[in-house]
């Protein structure tokens, strides 16, 4: 399992707009790069990222080969209620990594 860095404010006021930052450890191999033997390294990228807030999707993205290794995504959402943010990354091998973070809303 790859490592991920997730930055969610631990506490927020109700209605406040909070910034969420995520980074997943991933090579994002484009499929266009030749190895020492001249053959191309097979493509291996994160295709899809979804963030849900108490089950509701608040942000999602499709990723493409031009995106750097260890893709960093930052976005904002409105803090509505205390709950769990779920982050999931799906790669070319259709493996999904899921991570969660809790936010307390006062």
């Amino acid at each position: 399992m790859a490592r991920a860095l997730i930055n969610v404010p631990a506490k927020a006021r109700k209605g406040e707009i909070v910034e969420i930052k995520t980074m997943l450890q991933h090579p994002m191999e484009t499929g266009f790069r030749p190895g020492p033997d001249g053959r191309l390294y097979p493509r291996d990228i994160v295709k899809r990222f979804v963030c849900t807030y108490d089950g509701e999707t608040v942000f999602s993205a499709d990723l493409f080969p031009a995106i750097s290794a260890n893709p960093f995504l930052s976005f904002t959402t409105r803090a509505t209620a205390s709950g769990v943010l779920t982050f999931s990354w799906t790669d070319d091998k259709d493996q999904t990594q899921v991570q969660t973070a809790r936010i307390e809303v006062e």
């Binding site: 490592r3 450890q25 750097s68 290794a69």
Partner: protein
């Protein structure tokens, strides 16, 4: 007419000497960067890249440090020992360790850098296979140990046994190499702040290694970076872990003495 020729040749020589004089002075004056004029490589980066390094949730080097943290506690080798079994908590035991490397290794009778030290622990204490240079595991452990020195000044040990190696490192730094016939000092002492192609030439201080280099899309050690420069001047690079590299690392540590450690750094 025939007698005039030597005169003419002499005056040409004198003119050439006059032209050369200011050039020699300029290179003499810029030969070494004054301690207060030193700037970290981070100062030459775009504000975006600086911000990337400054924020731990956007610095990709922190992913390597996280991996190193888990390796620190992982048992390995025939001795079934983890780094943590001898050194306990890295946050206290490894504080400043990276800033003091390379250091003199009594057993080997020569200097050893942090990567060499990790591998020597692995072989003698854990009785495990050493990690290959530039392997993920080695870079991760070195990044994690390096992180414990972040903010502390680079502090090369004041050890007389190191002196000849530092001197060799200094000589290597000033030796012209490769088909382009360049020495490290010509770019990093004499022409820093100017451009080489589109890239700004930094002063070449090694205070942020291992780094996450955007061009590599990956972590890399100082030795990988030095090999890059050597390839750039079309010289044959020294092999990873060679004494020449350790000597260069020693001289660079001496050169960056007192500058704060930035590990894990981000560089363009």
């Amino acid at each position: 007419m025939t007698r005039a020729r030597p005169m003419h040749a002499l005056s040409a020589l004198a003119r050439a000497a006059l032209l050369c004089a200011p050039l020699l002075c300029a290179s003499g004056a810029a030969a070494q960067i004054a301690p207060q004029a030193r700037k970290s490589g981070a100062a030459f980066m775009s504000p975006q890249t600086q911000a990337m390094q400054a924020d731990d949730s956007s610095n990709p080097g922190m992913l390597a440090a996280l991996e190193g943290e888990s390796l620190w506690g992982q048992k390995a080798g025939a001795a079934n020992l983890a780094c943590a079994d001898c050194h306990q908590n890295a946050e206290t035991s490894m504080k400043g360790a990276a800033a003091r490397h390379p250091r003199f290794d009594e057993g080997a009778g020569k200097p050893v850098d942090l990567q060499g030290q990790v591998n020597s622990c692995r072989q003698t204490r854990q009785q495990a296979q050493p990690f290959p240079y530039e392997s993920r595991e080695l870079l991760a452990l070195v990044a994690y140990v390096g992180l414990q020195s972040r903010g502390l000044p680079v502090a090369p040990p004041d050890d007389p046994r190191l002196a000849p190696f530092v001197e060799n490192g200094r000589a290597l730094f000033h030796r012209r190499i490769g088909q382009l016939n360049f020495a490290c000092a010509q770019c990093h002492d004499e022409n820093w702040g100017r451009r080489l192609g589109s890239a700004l030439i930094p002063q070449g201080h090694a205070n942020a290694y291992p780094i996450y280099r955007l061009e590599w899309q990956d972590m890399g050690s100082l030795q990988r970076r030095l090999r890059n420069c050597m390839n750039g001047v079309r010289a044959e690079p020294y092999s990873l872990g060679s004494l020449e590299f350790i000597e260069l690392e020693l001289y660079l540590a001496e050169r960056a003495k007192g500058m704060p450690v930035e590990t894990p750094g981000v560089r363009p």
